[in-house]
């Protein structure tokens, strides 16, 4: 069990009631502003003491009010990237970064300054004071500071919110490696569906202090109803596939799962390795005949499994591709024009470039058991 | 008439408060009496203080004002006298007689001889003069602990900080924590005199009356009760 939480806690008029046990390696906390994400992370990190309940991570019990047990933050061996940077104003960036190292037994250090500094692109800032940094620079230093404690549990509260896409793209693979290779469990708060879809093994959806959904990323991402209306286009299918081979001429990689075969821009992993593919529902078209003369290379054959027409102009069609469900979001007009009905054999057509980096990620075993 | 304002050395408080009570009982407006160190009072008078009568603890500060023509010199009177005594803690068995070259240093031993400031405070100045006269000053000079005022010196003996001290007889007599070993002979130091005078700027006709009252037979026992010697003949 990576993280097991069962607590209730009051903050003014707000009450947080959360109970979940995630075996996943990266548990995302997802929910609107004010839903209690930061509070939950603070409870796990030991900055808040719950009114009632129990929190454990990686077999270590952090809090158990029944047993009057409370492990103080400094004994939890966590790395916490706060929502605001919280850098030490009286120390240089370097001293900030190295702060936690004093307290990490050298045998347990797996991270070193050079590597983190290069990852975050902050080498030129090392001798500066935090007050002389830009917003995003501060945030990067805060990430570095948490990583350099070589934590046994990483808590990240919207760590990438103030960073540009290029930076995000550099940091995300690093987090994946941490998750998969170093096997550091991560609790990750984010508003971004694409971040969650890419990184999370499990998702906790919070609303008004309650957990409204909890499950593996794939399952949650298919439940577009959980997403705010405006992000529903971002939701969709998450398929865990394997590399079948590479096409060197066109720099493509061929992925395969029971759903079929798709071609994506080259992913640098050996054949056989696992890759997670996120297919946005809005990127999936439906064709009743095999398309010709069209630039979309990926076609998965299947049958309409269900049609959800709850929404006005658009409908959600679930296509059963050999046992794996692929979600598509099309207009009601198209549905009518194509005469879609449950059971109809169709093709799910996906543009290859829809699989840009943010939708492809190498994965190890995402769950511990 | 307005209340008479009297600036008086702090050590006179008990006596003057009593006399002021009597003065009031005799149907006068009570005097307003400000008690402080003679030095402070003298400088305040110099600075324009609205005082009518000044009673100093020594002649120097009265002379200081007189030189500056701030007193009505014809009203100046040597009002009270006092004595200095050698004291010790009430449980001490120390004993000696004061005579030339008496072995004060031995009596003090490793401790201190508590005195008021020997340069600044009258009781200290008198004590130093007496010890010099008796030829023992140089032997105890570096054993002297000078206090801010004579009461503080008394406290040092009363609390056992210092085994011996030189203070006014008036103070020693009233403190059960100390006992008097011996009184310094009058001739070993200049006479201890509390002079009084009406001030030059005083416009209050009661001022002279109050000064007269201090010299009166009614005041005399009240001064003597506090251990002072009244130097003026009762009128």
């Amino acid at each position: 069990m990576t993280v097991a939480v069962d607590i209730s806690h009051r903050l003014g008029a707000f009450t947080l009631d959360a109970r979940f046990e995630s075996a996943g390696r990266l548990t995302a906390l997802f929910g609107p502003s004010g839903s209690g994400k930061t509070s939950l992370v603070n409870l796990i990190g030991g900055l808040l003491k719950p009114d009632r309940g129990r929190i454990a991570a990686e077999g270590r019990v952090f809090v158990d009010t029944a047993q009057k047990l409370f492990v103080p933050a400094h004994k939890r061996r966590i790395g916490y990237v706060f929502q605001e940077p919280r850098l030490f104003p009286h120390m240089s960036v370097r001293a900030n970064l190295l702060y936690g190292r004093w307290f990490t037994p050298s045998a347990e250090r797996y991270e070193d300054l050079d590597r983190v500094v290069d990852l975050l692109g902050i080498r030129h800032l090392l001798e500066r004071r935090p007050s002389h940094l830009s917003g995003g620079e501060k945030q990067r230093v805060a990430i570095g500071r948490a990583l350099l404690t070589s934590p046994r549990l990483l808590l990240m509260d919207e760590p990438l919110a103030s960073l540009d896409d290029a930076r995000k793209a550099e940091i995300m693979p690093y987090l994946e490696r941490l998750r998969d290779e170093t096997k550091i469990p991560i609790v990750y708060v984010s508003h971004s569906v694409s971040e969650v879809a890419r990184l999370a093994s499990d998702v906790v959806v919070l609303s008004h202090g309650k957990i409204v959904a909890f499950g593996p990323t794939g399952a949650i991402m298919q439940r577009l109803d959980l997403l705010p209306k405006e992000s529903q286009g971002e939701g969709g299918t998450v398929l865990d596939m394997r590399v079948a081979g590479h096409d060197d001429e066109f720099e493509m990689t061929i992925l395969r799962s029971t759903a079929g075969e798709i071609r994506v821009p080259r992913v640098d992993t050996a054949p056989g390795s696992a890759v997670r593919v996120r297919i946005r529902a809005r990127d999936v078209m439906i064709a009743t005949e095999l398309p010709r003369g069209l630039s979309a290379l990926n076609v998965l054959a299947g049958k309409v499994a269900s049609i959800d027409t709850s929404d006005g102009a658009t409908v959600e069609v679930r296509i059963d591709c050999n046992g794996e469900m692929v979600l598509s979001r099309i207009t009601r007009q198209s549905m009518n024009a194509l005469g879609l009905a449950v059971g109809l054999p169709v093709f799910a057509v996906i543009k290859t470039v829809a699989f840009d980096q943010e939708n492809l990620s190498r994965t190890g075993a995402l769950h511990d058991i | 008439a307005d209340n008479v304002v009297v600036f008086a050395a702090a050590s006179l408080k008990n006596a003057l408060d009593a006399i002021n009570g009597a003065w009031k009982a005799d149907g006068h407006e009570p005097a307003t009496i400000s008690y402080a160190a003679s030095s402070a009072l003298a400088k305040q008078i110099e600075g324009g203080a609205p005082a009518d009568v000044f009673i100093s603890a020594d002649l120097d500060w009265m002379k200081y004002l007189a030189d500056k023509k701030l007193t009505k010199t014809d009203t100046e009177v040597q009002l009270l006298g006092n004595r200095i005594v050698l004291i010790t803690g009430k449980d001490s068995s120390a004993a000696t007689t004061i005579e030339p070259n008496f072995d004060l240093a031995k009596l003090v031993g490793d401790g201190k001889l508590a005195m008021a400031d020997v340069k600044a405070v009258p009781a200290g100045k008198y004590g130093k003069a007496a010890l010099e006269k008796l030829g023992v000053w140089s032997s105890v000079e570096n054993k002297v602990a000078q206090a801010e005022n004579v009461r503080a010196a008394l406290k040092l003996v009363a609390t056992g900080e210092a085994p011996l001290g030189i203070v006014y007889q008036t103070d020693a007599a009233a403190d059960p924590e100390v006992k008097i070993i011996a009184t310094f002979p009058q001739e070993t130091h200049a006479p201890i005199i509390y002079p009084a005078a009406v001030l030059a700027d005083s416009k209050n006709e009661d001022a002279a009356k109050f000064l007269d009252y201090l010299k009166s037979a009614k005041a005399k026992p009240l001064f003597e009760e506090q251990g002072f010697t009244v130097l003026v003949p009762a009128n």
Partner: protein
């Protein structure tokens, strides 16, 4: 417990001490805030000098401070004469003088406390108020001043407490005139100067402690409540 009974004259001293301490605190407050602002924020020639002058009452023996007040603010002193002639403000041998002496003695303490609070203010908040349209005065009154309240309260209590205990400068400057300038500390002093006065001194000392503790606890309570209201922690 009859020895705890205060004589009418002592009651007068108590009332006077309260009056003196309160006025000393209140009058020095606006000046203290201005000086603290100048010292914390100002950049001007003579800043070190101002800093030094503010600290003088701390550095000098109180008797010297009192004496300096006497020769400048006394009836014959340059400032004292000027104020008396032009504004009818007289310090010498008045309770106002005692308040002046106490105010001056407590001034460095007050300024330091406020100064420290000013330095802790996040100037970004002031800048934010500026962008919202507030000019410097508004920024000061709506942002800076509320944020330095802890320092102001600390400064006030230090000034008040110091005034309750101030003796040397007061007695030197305005003497020890019952009903006019005899404050609690000077009354206590007088008791210590005569045989048998210890009881009286103790009695007045207790009164002084009770008053100051009350003020102290009230200020703490107020400060804490304010802190809660301000969420400054």
């Amino acid at each position: 417990m009859s020895w705890l009974q205060l004589s009418p004259e002592e009651w007068t001293a108590v009332r006077l001490s309260l009056k003196v301490a309160t006025w000393a605190m209140i009058v020095s407050l606006p000046i203290g805030i201005c000086v603290a602002l100048l010292l914390a924020r100002g950049k001007f020639w003579g800043k070190s000098l101002l800093n030094g002058i503010v600290h003088l009452p701390l550095i000098l023996p109180p008797v010297v401070t009192g004496y300096l007040l006497l020769i400048t603010f006394g009836r014959r002193g340059p400032i004292g004469a000027f104020l008396a002639d032009n504004f009818g403000i007289v310090f010498s041998f008045r309770w106002t003088g005692a308040a002046l002496a106490c105010g001056v003695m407590g001034f460095p303490l007050m300024v330091r406390a406020i100064w420290l609070s000013i330095e802790a203010v996040d100037r970004k908040l002031e800048a934010a108020a500026g962008t919202l349209g507030a000019n410097r005065a508004w920024v000061f009154f709506t942002v800076t001043l509320p944020l330095i309240m802890p320092g102001i309260i600390a400064g006030m209590i230090l000034s008040f407490a110091k005034a309750m205990g101030e003796f040397g400068a007061t007695i030197t400057f305005v003497s020890n005139i019952p009903g006019e300038t005899q404050t609690l500390p000077t009354a206590i002093y007088t008791f210590t100067q005569v045989p048998g006065g210890d009881i009286g001194a103790l009695r007045l000392t207790l009164v002084s402690i009770v008053i100051s503790m009350t003020a102290l606890i009230a200020s703490e309570t107020f400060s804490r409540r304010l802190g809660k209201r301000l969420d400054l922690q």
